[in-house]
């Protein structure tokens, strides 16, 4: 099992190193979040009450739009220099590669989410500090759900034509339950209620995460064949 964990870590480390040197994804994603903030502001107008009412939905709209950009790229880098063949030839259980890529995507999303929350706090003068622990719980469960389907479908569409069209069309309906549950739970948390009030939603998110992870782990080796 330590060999398995090591292979997962190798994938995360490799992608993190590539990202640190190329700075391709994160810079653009952070800038994209800033742009989204402007779009939201222009769409809703200056009235503060409207922004506050729509806040849980806006947050998750921001996360899913950034996620669509990030997840779709997960496996594109592997298509250069025969890297894909390298992954296929990796000995052992191929699901380690899936978990490694998933972990990388979750890390990217955490950065994007922190930036987006900070931007909301500054530009809309919203104080997230009292609700931060509950918000962190909802965000981690929701992000895991989005990323587990996103990573799998990113791999499925990586070698296809028109993949940038196909990827969102496949991902968005599949993650409807994650979005519904996350937005509702975020609403509960932001309105200052205890996290237990969103208990049913959190359980649903946990169950969804588990199902997606199991499907991803079981089917990934068939996707990787190319």
């Amino acid at each position: 099992m330590s060999g398995y964990a090591r292979r997962v870590w190798m994938v995360v480390w490799k992608d993190a190193l590539t990202e640190r040197r190329s700075k391709e994804s994160l810079n653009v994603l952070v800038f994209f979040s800033l742009l989204l903030l402007f779009v939201f502001q222009f769409a809703l107008g200056p009235e503060r009450a409207r922004v506050e009412a729509a806040l849980p939905g806006l947050l998750w709209l921001g996360f899913i739009l950034s996620g669509l950009l990030a997840f779709g790229r997960t496996f594109l880098v592997e298509r250069e220099n025969d890297c894909w063949e390298g992954l296929v030839l990796t000995p052992g259980d191929k699901s380690a590669i899936y978990l490694g890529k998933l972990a990388g995507n979750v890390l990217v999303m955490i950065v994007v989410e922190v930036v987006l929350l900070a931007l909301f706090a500054v530009f809309f003068a919203i104080d997230f500090t009292p609700v931060l622990p509950g918000l962190a719980a909802v965000l981690s469960l929701g992000t895991l759900g989005l990323a587990s389907v996103g990573t799998l479908f990113g791999a499925v569409t990586a070698q296809m034509r028109a993949r940038e069209l196909l990827f969102p069309v496949l991902l968005l309906p599949a993650v409807v339950p994650v979005l519904l549950a996350s937005v509702s739970a975020t609403q509960t948390v932001l309105s200052g209620l205890p996290l237990a009030d969103a208990g049913a939603w959190l359980k649903l998110l946990a169950a969804a995460d588990l199902v997606y992870l199991v499907v991803g782990i079981l089917t990934f080796e068939f996707v990787l064949e190319g």
Binding site: R161, L170, P177, S184, A208, V215, T219
Partner: protein, 221 residues
């Protein structure tokens, strides 16, 4: 070969006969509903269509798992041949429900739990068919489609509960619920006949589509 064709033709004839019987039951045998009037007869189209769609998507799942385990093209043809009528019957469900909803609820569409989850189901499998159109190489197409088909099926209960907790206006399930069915006997009989008719029609479409896919595969090389 001839036996296959004969079986398909017999199935087609049975489906046509059952649909005629179903129409007779829906418009002749079943009584006019006391509250809603004749509009309620849309149910004989609406309910069988959605039950058939569920059957179809279950077969997509079976075909997808079967393909990944055995790599035999027949399983993939089953998944494809079930997905297409599945989307069609889901579309019929949504359209007929919309036409039924206008006079009874006063609106074409409402974001009620079951309407929304049926719409999500529709979108998932339209995506599935779009994906199939994007890959030419048969084994790659089958594997990619199988992964999406399996996730789509595993997702169904999650979608169901998430949307159910999110909202509700649709009447609760009467036939499949735990209570004994309060439906009047003639209505139940008419519904049953139409359900059988739709299942036969689906079986015919499934067999025909599988045969077309098999011919396409053999002639493609």
């Amino acid at each position: 070969m001839a036996a296959r064709e004969l079986a398909s033709r017999v199935l087609g004839c049975l489906a046509v006969l059952a649909i005629i019987a179903g129409l007779g039951a829906a418009f002749g045998y079943a009584p006019r509903e006391a509250v809603q009037g004749n509009v309620q007869r849309i149910m004989y189209l609406h309910v069988p269509a959605v039950l058939t769609a569920y059957l179809a998507f279950a077969l997509v799942f079976v075909g997808s798992v079967g393909y990944l385990l055995t790599r035999r093209a027949g399983w993939d043809r089953l998944a494809l041949a079930a997905a297409e009528p599945g989307v069609l019957f889901t579309g019929i469900t949504i359209a007929s429900g919309s036409i039924w909803g206008k006079p009874t609820w006063g609106t074409w569409w409402t974001w009620d739990a079951r309407l929304t989850s049926t719409a999500v189901l529709f979108l998932v499998y339209v995506g599935y068919l779009l994906l199939r159109g994007m890959v030419d190489e048969p084994d790659r197409r089958a594997r990619a489609a199988a992964v999406v088909g399996i996730l789509g099926a595993a997702n169904m209960p999650i979608v169901h509960f998430s949307v159910k907790w999110w909202r509700a206006l649709h009447q609760p399930s009467t036939i499949l619920g735990p209570e004994p069915s309060p439906i009047a006997a003639p209505i139940a009989v008419a519904l049953l006949i139409n359900w059988i008719a739709f299942t036969l029609l689906f079986a015919y479409l499934l067999a025909a589509r599988m045969e077309i896919a098999r011919l396409e595969d053999t002639h493609a090389g």
